[in-house]
């Protein structure tokens, strides 16, 4: 007996599809999605809901192995941004300031030293909020991140991890979605490796699969200085490599050490300067 198309009396097939399509985003993220905007219209326009989705996994990777500190700095600035409240340092700090967790396996950051509390101030994160978790293995780091996210105690969770397979990233993404917390992962530089280098396990040209909502590729850039030559704003080449429900893009992002906010250096640097000579535009099209 040939299968006959199912017909629902009184309802148009197109209308049903539209309705189902409308349900899709809600099913994906569970909780009503909220977002963490950068405060930069040009950048936020690329992101769904005008900002980084809270309750999602975001990856930050350095453009080159030497850019790990830059990528870590970008991650810390993002960690500090949530909740969106101007940070107040000192004794009159609001008592309900939620902690921020950073989880790293002993090997993940070993080549680049260890987080230094006095340096966190410059990126808007009060070191008193910071809880550092150092694990012996990557497996424990994953567990600690998931545990921290599921507890919903911290404002945001950051982590550094070497390897991440699709299943694990889905697990973390799910945990972040359930708790409504952003989870920022610092990845090593070589996640961009092409198929030829990844020894035939993955198909050519396929990036490491991940369930992350966004992946940022961060490179160091010449800092903005005042007329005395002092660094006033850190700059990063920020490339949004992939973004679920958004568009990839590339910006020269600044972070102000006094006002603790992001700004764009595009007007100052110009589009030609904002792209590094070694960056390949082909990656932009492939991402997403």
């Amino acid at each position: 007996m040939p299968p006959s198309p199912v017909t629902i009396p009184g309802r148009d097939r197109a209308a049903i599809v539209d309705e189902l399509r409308g349900l899709l985003p809600r099913m994906e993220s569970g909780a009503p999605p909220r977002a963490l905007p950068f405060g930069l219209p040009a950048l936020d326009a690329h992101l769904p809901q005008g900002g980084l989705t809270l309750g999602a996994l975001h990856e930050v990777a350095p453009a080159a192995p030497g850019d790990v500190p830059a990528a870590f700095g970008f991650l810390v600035a993002l960690l500090a941004r949530h909740p969106l409240r101007p940070p107040v340092f000192g004794k009159d700090r609001a008592p309900t300031n939620k902690p921020v967790l950073f989880v790293a396996s002993a090997r993940a950051l070993a080549d680049h030293g260890r987080p230094y509390g006095h340096g966190f101030h410059r990126l808007g994160l009060d070191p008193a909020r910071l809880i550092l978790v150092e694990t012996q293995t990557a497996k424990q780091a994953l567990w600690a991140m998931e545990e921290a996210v599921r507890s919903a105690v911290p404002a945001a969770v950051g982590g550094a991890i070497e390897k991440l397979d699709l299943k694990t990233s889905q697990r973390l993404q799910l945990a972040a979605g359930d708790a409504g917390l952003p989870l920022f992962l610092l990845r090593p530089a070589h996640t961009q490796k092409t198929g030829a280098q990844e020894a035939g396990v993955q198909e050519a040209g396929v990036q490491e699969a991940s369930a992350a909502a966004t992946r940022w590729r961060i490179g160091a850039a010449e800092a903005a200085r005042d007329r005395f030559g002092l660094v006033v704003r850190t700059r990063w080449h920020a490339r949004l490599e992939r973004c679920r429900n958004g568009r990839p893009g590339e910006w020269l992002v600044e972070f102000d050490h006094a006002a603790f906010r992001f700004s764009l250096a595009a007007a100052l640097a110009g589009p030609a300067l904002s792209r590094r000579p070694d960056a390949q535009p082909a990656n932009l099209r492939r991402a997403g």
Binding site: T96, H118, G119, I131, Q136, G229, L230
Partner: protein, 485 residues
Amino acid sequence: MPCVAAVNAAAEADGIRVGDTLADARAKTGSLQVRAADPAADDAALKQLALWATRYTPAVAPWDETNGADGLFLDVAGASHLFGGEEELIADLAARLVRFGLPAQLAAAATAGAAWALARLRPATTLAAGEERAALAPLPIEALRLTAATRRTLRRLGFRRVGALIDKPRAPFAARFERELLMRMDQAFGRTPEPLAFILPPPVYHSLRYLMEPLVAREAIVAVVRRLMQDIVHTLTRDGVGARALRLALYGVDGGVKSIDVGVTRPTRSIPFVARLIELKLERMTETAAETTAEPLDAGFGFEAIGLAITAVERMEPGQAELIDGFDETGAPGWLDERCAELIDGLAQRLGPRCVRRLAPVASHLPERAERPVARNDRAPWPASDEARPRPLLMFARAEPAEVMAQVPEGPPRRFRWRGVLHGVAKAQGPERIATEWWRSGASAPTRDYYLVEDEAGRRFWLYREGLYARETVAPRWFVHGLFA
């Protein structure tokens, strides 16, 4: 001259007594097997047995030298009813000891001294309070835990039974003998309290369950912990305290005891929280030994009894537990701290206590000394950062040497080679001069000049030159101390 320290039943049948010289003993029987006495091993075995015996009551004291060092006191007050009485408890204990292959002599009495005497000379008796006098009177004076010298003197004076000593006036004895005699008698008859040295300090709050079937699975153990905590919570609530430290004791079928200590940063009465901590700790212990340094948990043939003791308590405001469910983060500031403490405790149980830390500032000029890790939940206020003195985001535990080319020896670097890579310096900010803290250590280290250096790729480094040129050294060395974002 070697003497016999202990004999087994067969040797005793051949007439060998403890205290015989070895030559005498060999003469009495042809096929004597001799092993060297090992008091340390005996002591360890007795301790092990004492730990096991805490399954009956948390107050267990192994006998010391004055008691003969070959037995245990169990303070079963408040515990015997769990078995239906002292006789039943003794029967249960005897049955289990027989299964371990330990022939034991057991007795119960209202005083430790009387129990000791009965266990030695009239085993398997249970004495009600107040009957010590009648029960001990017909026993020989060995029942009184006296030193050999005292016993010899008493025998020479014609005292053979305890009863002969009981109603004698005290003064002549006090004059003639050491304090020991009267003290032992008073202890045996309950006129003087006898402090016992318990193997574990008996906890105030304690709960124990005997299981019908031995447990092996972790989930089952956690389920029992939940029930044990349920038993304890009422008393904790009544006394207005919360647990700061807990000890879980797992009594194996084979007589082994595993005890697991758990500490928490804030007093707690929460059943699910305690169960979760225990679960995490057990997980950590069962994890493969290669991954962690913790001792593995070996269930063996299973655990037949599980006890939970609260070893440290702290005052806890009443009603705090109810707040956790009722208020959201905006309602109660304490809520967040409490949840945060729970999270940190959980992570620390699973990963090890040193893996979770916060940073606290230290008033020091030296960057590597300006902060220290603090355990757990202490939040220290940090001073605001000084824009003129930038500090890196990542710092090396040991500053790494770099080869630097500078235009002038006391000037900023022009190029530097670090980890084999040559970096051209685009901009350098500095120097920030940091002198050594001479009041801290006797030997004075050279002064450092720190530069925030940006290379041509825009990466920022924190370099310092060690030693003031021409004043402290002629060949200053350079180091990379940290990395900026």
